[in-house]
Symmetry: C2
Subunit: 124 residues, 2 copies
DNA sequence: CCTTATGCTTACGTAAACGTAAGTCTAAGA
DNA sequence: TCTTAGACTTACGTTTACGTAAGCATAAGG
């Protein structure tokens, strides 16, 4: 199974070493240590991808932490499972609201662009 | 034409007075002044809505400023219009990337939820 | 006319998310 | 063996987006 150094992942995802170390410090990833050096396994790499996707969506790191931890949740007992499902439903609602925001913004931008093109026509 | 006080808008949008004043300080809105008091016109109210929508999408205030200013761009000359269209296209690409992120995240959450429900079934 | 509510400015404080040295260590190639 | 590249920790600095008084002005209701 492939592993990566911190520089490998920083290059791949376009972030700095500091960023990755910071995420570890905040408990978002826990790479293996070989001596003092960090060794990243596929699991860590995937988590980093999820973290950065959450970041693009404007979630805070603590929100991202709860989301990413859902992926690795152990089966657990019924109460915990129901709680997790509740959390997921909450997140989904948030995400759907955001998608609505995006669609509205794109529609607005389209309208502004149409106006621009009309003005351009008129100028020629 | 209706106008609003700063508290009116703060209540309507669920933000603090400080937030609105801060946006004015950063040049995102410029309400009229009656003496020292701020009077918000429909135009200001709409802009505030746009600002907060941008905030929900995780844009920084300076990014939001450029977006919101697109709405109020004066017709201008051909070069400026073409530049504006370019800006709009750039923003749209960004937004579409974000929508992809959202759709992927929702799909992931759906999968986790299905796994949860299966585990629940197994427990009963 | 007096009080209470609403609003204003100024300014220091703060949490989040890293940036940026500074100094150390170590493994690998010339 | 020397040095260079890659990694590490510690810790102070920075930017963004407001929070939080403090002190003063003004408008509106009883």
């Amino acid at each position: 199974m492939e592993t990566w150094s911190i520089t490998d992942l920083a290059d791949e995802y376009g972030v700095t070493l500091r960023t990755i170390r910071f995420y570890e410090d905040r408990g978002l990833i826990s790479p293996e240590r070989r001596g003092t050096q960090r060794i990243f396994h596929p699991r860590d790499r995937v988590r980093l991808g999820l973290i950065l996707r959450g970041r693009r969506l404007g979630f805070s790191l603590s929100q991202i932490a709860t989301i990413v931890d859902m992926y690795d949740a152990e089966p657990g007992e019924a109460g915990q499972l129901r709680y997790l499902i509740e959390q997921i439903d909450g997140r989904r609602l948030e995400l759907e609201q955001r998608r609505k925001d995006i669609d509205e913004t794109i529609a607005d931008l389209d309208q502004v662009e149409r106006r621009c093109r009309e003005d351009l026509e008129r100028l020629s």
